[in-house]
C-alpha cells in the first residue's frame, strides 16, 4: 500500500502565507479567549482549591446538585458530568477556608440534598496556595528548559538559524494547544503540562527528520536549485513518513482519548492537538521559515 505516491509534488512553500495566516488565526482566537477569561484556564494543580469526584448509584440531576451547592455558597463551583450521568466532578476555587472543611461541607450538603443516593468518593484533590504556586513555577521552568534543550540540540546539529525555525514551530505547537484548551474550556493540569512537554519532544523530532532531508538535498541537488524548490522537494520526499508516523501516533492517542477514561482525558486531548499541530508545523512553519532568512546564509550551511 502507498498513500503518498512517489513523485508527489505539492507546493507547500507557495502556500506559506495562507498557512501563517491560519496559524495566526488559531493563535489569535485562543489568545483573545484567554484574555477574555483572564488568563489560561488553570486546573486545581495550578490555581489551587478543591476537586471532588463523586459517583452515585442513581443518575444525578445536575440542576438539583447546583441548587444544593448554591445553598452553601458555592454558586461558582464548576460541575462536570461523566459518562452515564452517575458521576460528577465538582471543583471549587481556592478560598480562605481549609480545604478539608470545604470538602466536609460539600459532602454534608450533598448527602442532605440527595438522601436516597449512595455516594462514593472516587477522587479528592486539594491543593494549597503555596503548592499551586510552586507547581506553576516548576511547570514554566520545565517548559523553558525543554525549549532551551531543544534549541541547543538543533543548533548543535544544524546551526542556530535552523534551530530558530524549529523552536518557532515548537512555540507554535504549544501555543496552539493552549489556545485550544482555552477555546474548549478545558483546564490546564499537571498531566496536560506533561503532554505539552511530550509534544515538544515529538514535534521537534518531526522537524529534525525534515531538516535532515533538506540538508541532504542541499548537498545532492545542483547549486542552481532555488531554496524554495529544494524545500518543497524535501517536504514531499519525507511527506510519506511524516504522515505515516503521525498517523500511528494519532491512532494510539485517539484510543487513549476515547477509551482511557476521564482521568486521562485532557492529557489525551492535548496530545491529539499537539500531534496534529506538530505535523502541520513541521511542514508549514519550521521549513518555510528557513526562507525568511537570507537565502545565501542558509545555503552556506554545510
Amino acid at each position: 500500500m502507498e498513500w503518498i505516491k512517489p513523485g508527489t509534488k505539492i507546493d507547500f512553500v507557495g502556500k506559506l502565507y495562507y498557512c501563517l495566516a491560519l496559524s495566526g488565526l488559531v493563535i489569535l482566537a485562543g489568545t483573545i479567549s484567554m484574555i477574555l477569561k483572564g488568563g489560561p484556564n488553570y486546573g486545581v494543580d495550578f490555581s489551587g482549591g478543591l476537586l471532588v469526584q463523586l459517583r452515585s448509584d442513581k443518575v444525578v440531576p445536575l440542576n438539583q446538585l447546583r441548587d444544593s451547592l448554591s445553598k452553601i455558597g458555592w454558586a461558582k463551583a464548576q460541575i462536570q458530568e461523566f459518562g452515564d450521568g452517575h458521576e460528577v466532578l465538582i471543583r471549587a476555587p481556592q478560598s480562605s477556608e481549609a480545604p478539608e472543611e470545604l470538602k466536609n461541607r460539600l459532602i454534608q450538603a450533598i448527602h442532605k440534598s440527595f438522601p436516597q443516593n449512595n455516594w462514593e468518593e472516587r477522587r479528592t484533590e486539594t491543593v494549597g496556595p503555596q503548592v499551586s504556586k510552586e507547581l506553576q513555577k516548576e511547570a514554566i521552568i520545565a517548559l523553558v528548559l525543554s525549549f532551551a534543550a531543544m534549541y541547543g540540540y538543533v543548533t548543535y546539529r544544524f546551526g542556530w538559524l535552523w534551530a530558530s525555525g524549529g523552536i518557532l514551530a515548537l512555540i507554535h505547537d504549544v501555543w496552539v494547544t493552549v489556545a485550544f484548551f482555552s477555546l474548549a474550556n478545558k483546564e490546564i493540569t499537571l498531566p496536560v503540562v506533561a503532554a505539552l512537554l511530550t509534544i515538544i519532544g515529538y514535534s521537534i523530532n518531526d522537524t529534525i527528520v525534515l531538516f535532515d532531508r533538506v540538508r541532504e538535498n542541499l548537498k545532492k541537488l545542483s547549486k542552481n536549485t532555488e531554496l524554495a524548490t529544494l524545500i518543497n522537494i524535501s517536504v514531499n520526499e519525507t511527506l510519506s513518513r511524516t504522515i505515516l508516523t503521525s498517523f500511528t501516533v494519532f491512532i494510539t492517542v485517539l484510543a487513549l482519548f476515547f477509551l482511557g477514561g476521564e482521568v486521562i482525558h485532557d492529557f489525551a486531548f492535548a496530545l491529539i492537538i499537539g500531534v496534529i499541530s506538530g505535523t502541520y508545523s513541521t511542514i508549514y512553519i519550521a521549513s518555510p521559515i528557513l526562507l525568511l532568512w537570507p537565502a545565501k546564509r542558509t545555503r552556506k550551511k554545510k
Partner: protein, 516 residues
C-alpha cells in the same frame, strides 16, 4: 549470508528477551502500581514550625516567671510574642536582677530596655530558631510515622521534602478520611483547672480575668452533624500535659457500654498528677485536647496511681484512634495539609482496566495498519513492537519502577512512536528499491540512512522525558519513565532486531522481491 553476525546476534536477542521475560514474571508481583491505580492517599504536609518556636518561647516565659517568683524579683509580667520574650517591670530597680536571670539564657539576645513602657525585650537567636524548627520537623516526622505504623498501613511512605514539608503516601487505604484525621491531629493533651472564682457570663462579655481563658467543648451530633459549643472558663496554665504519658488505650465502660480512653502517666507525670489532685480536692480539672474541652470531672481525692480517663461520647473507632495519637505523642507544631490527592480503590481499578483497554485497542490498530501497509515487513515491525513491550515490562520490573496511569499512556505513546523508526527505515528502503537497487543494497542503505535520523528523533523525545522526570510529581514521573524506557527499547528492537530478521529473509534463497 552473514553467518557470523547472525550466530551471535540471534543468541543476544534471545538472551535479552529471555531476561526481560524472566524479570517481569509474574507481572502482578513485579510491577508496582502507583497510587492513582492502586487507590490511596498522597499528602503534602507543612509543619508550622514557627508555632513550635513560639510555644518554646512561651515555655521559657513560664520558666522565667517561676524563677523570678523564687528570687522574689518584683515584676509586672513575663510574656512571649512569637520569638520574643518581654519582661515588664514596675520600675528600673529590678532591672539588673532581671538581666542577671536572663544572662543564664544564652539562646536569647537582649533587645534593650524601654524606659517608657518599662519593658525588657529579648529575642531568640537565629541559630536557636533554626534548631527548634529543625527539631520540630524531625519530631513531627517521627510522630506521624509512629501513628501510621500503629494504625496499620501496608507500605506507607513518609518522607521529608525540602525545608518544612512532609510527604505521606498511603497506598490502598480504605478510609482516607480517618487516616487524615489521625495524621493531622496535633494531639496536645492538657490538664487545666476550671476557674470557679469568676463568673463565666461576665468573662464571655469580654471581662476575662487575667490568667484565665475561655475554651469550648464541641459536640457533634452523630445524626444531624450539628455542632454544639459549650464554653468553659479555665485557668490558662496547663498543670500537666501529654508529654508525661506512657500509655493510652481504649477501654469500654461496662455500665453504659461506652468506649473511653484510659491513660497512664510516667513516674514524673504521676507525681505531678498526685500533687495536683491532692492540692485541688473538690475543684474541677478540665481535660483538654487541642484546645477542645473533653470533660471537667470534680477531683474527689488524691490520685497517686497516675491513671486517668478521657471520656467524650466516642465511637469505638474514635476512641481507638485517639489512643493511637496519644501513644504516639503530640505533634510539636500544628500541621497544615498543603496538598491532598486521594484516589478511591474503585477509580484506580477503573483506570487500570480502561488504560489497558486503550493499550490493547491502540496497539492492535497500529499492528493491523503496519501489516496492511507494509505486508511481510509490517509483520517484522510488529514482532519488534511485541519485543519492545516485553523489554519495557522487563526493565520496569527490574528497576521496580512504579506504573501509573500516565505511565500506561506512556506505553501507548511508545507503541505509536516505536513504529516510527520502522516507518523511517521502510520508507528509505522503498525509495532505494524505486531507484532500482537490489533488495540487499536497498536494505543496507535503508537502515544506514535512517539510523541517524532515528537517533536524532529519539534523542529529542528522551531529552523532553528527562526534563519531565525532573519536574514531574508521582504519576507524571511514571509517564516519563515508561516513555524513556520504551523509546530506548525501540532503538534496539526496531533497528537491531528488525535488521537481523531482514538479513534472515535475504538469506532465504530465491527471494527476489522484498515484501515491503
Amino acid at each position: 549470508m552473514k553467518k557470523d553476525i547472525i550466530r551471535w546476534k540471534i543468541p543476544l536477542i534471545i538472551l535479552i528477551v529471555g531476561a526481560a521475560l524472566f524479570y517481569s514474571f509474574p507481572l502482578k508481583d513485579k510491577i508496582k502500581l502507583g497510587l492513582d491505580l492502586r487507590g490511596g492517599v498522597h499528602l503534602a504536609l507543612e509543619v508550622e514550625a514557627d508555632k513550635a518556636v513560639s510555644s518554646a518561647v512561651k515555655k521559657y516565659a513560664s520558666e522565667i516567671r517561676e524563677l523570678m517568683n523564687k528570687k522574689e524579683i518584683d515584676y509586672d509580667s513575663v510574656a512571649s510574642r512569637d520569638s520574643t520574650l518581654i519582661i515588664k517591670l514596675f520600675d528600673d530597680k529590678a532591672l539588673s536582677a532581671a538581666k542577671d536571670i536572663m544572662a543564664e539564657y544564652a539562646i536569647f539576645q537582649a533587645q534593650g530596655w524601654n524606659k517608657d513602657t518599662r519593658e525588657l525585650a529579648f529575642s531568640l537567636k537565629e541559630a536557636a530558631i533554626t534548631e527548634i524548627e529543625g527539631n520540630a520537623i524531625d519530631q513531627a516526622l517521627e510522630t506521624i510515622r509512629s501513628r501510621i505504623d500503629q494504625f496499620g498501613v501496608a507500605e506507607p511512605s513518609i518522607q521529608r521534602e525540602g525545608n518544612n514539608r512532609i510527604i505521606v503516601q498511603l497506598p490502598g487505604i480504605e478510609d482516607p478520611e480517618r487516616a487524615m484525621k489521625l495524621i493531622g491531629k496535633t494531639a496536645l493533651l492538657e490538664f487545666k483547672l476550671v476557674d470557679e472564682e469568676h463568673n463565666i457570663q461576665e468573662a464571655r462579655e469580654g471581662k476575662i480575668p487575667p490568667g484565665s481563658e475561655i475554651l469550648y467543648e464541641k459536640k457533634v451530633d452523630k445524626e444531624t452533624g450539628e455542632i454544639t459549643k459549650t464554653p468553659y472558663l479555665l485557668k490558662k496554665e496547663a498543670l500537666l500535659t501529654g508529654d508525661f504519658l506512657t500509655d493510652a488505650h481504649i477501654s469500654i465502660d461496662t455500665q453504659y457500654n461506652e468506649p473511653y480512653v484510659s491513660i497512664s502517666f510516667n513516674k514524673a507525670g504521676s507525681k505531678i498528677f498526685a500533687r495536683i489532685t491532692e492540692q485541688n480536692v473538690g475543684k474541677r480539672l478540665a481535660i483538654i485536647l487541642d484546645n477542645n474541652v473533653y470533660s471537667d470531672p470534680v477531683i474527689r481525692e488524691k490520685i497517686p496511681s497516675g491513671k486517668a480517663q478521657i471520656t467524650g461520647n466516642f465511637t469505638e473507632e474514635e476512641a481507638r484512634d485517639l489512643a493511637i495519637v496519644l501513644r504516639a505523642g503530640a505533634l510539636p507544631a500544628p500541621i497544615k495539609v498543603q496538598e491532598n490527592r486521594t484516589v478511591g480503590p474503585s477509580l484506580g481499578q477503573d483506570s487500570i482496566s480502561k488504560g489497558f483497554k486503550s493499550v490493547i485497542i491502540g496497539g492492535l490498530l497500529v499492528v493491523v495498519f503496519m501489516v496492511v501497509y507494509y505486508r511481510v515487513s509490517g509483520l517484522v515491525a510488529n514482532i519488534a513492537l511485541l519485543l519492545n513491550i516485553i523489554l519495557l515490562g522487563g526493565v520496569l520490573a527490574y528497576f521496580r519502577a512504579t506504573l501509573t496511569l500516565p505511565g500506561i499512556a506512556g506505553i501507548i505513546l511508545t507503541i505509536g512512536m516505536a513504529v516510527d523508526a520502522n516507518i523511517l527505515i521502510f520508507e528509505r528502503i522503498r525509495e532505494e528499491l524505486r531507484q532500482g537497487r537490489p533488495a540487499r543494497v536497498a536494505i543496507e542503505n535503508g537502515f544506514a540512512k535512517a539510523f541517524l535520523t532515528i537517533l536524532d528523533a529519539n534523542l529529542t523525545t528522551i531529552i523532553a522525558a528527562i526534563i519531565l522526570f525532573q519536574y514531574g510529581t508521582g504519576p507524571v514521573k511514571g509517564f516519563a519513565i515508561t516513555l524513556t524506557i520504551g523509546i530506548l527499547a525501540s532503538m534496539f528492537t526496531a533497528i537491531f532486531v528488525c535488521r537481523v530478521i531482514f538479513d534472515l529473509r535475504l538469506a532465504r534463497k530465491g527471494m527476489k522481491k522484498l515484501s515491503i
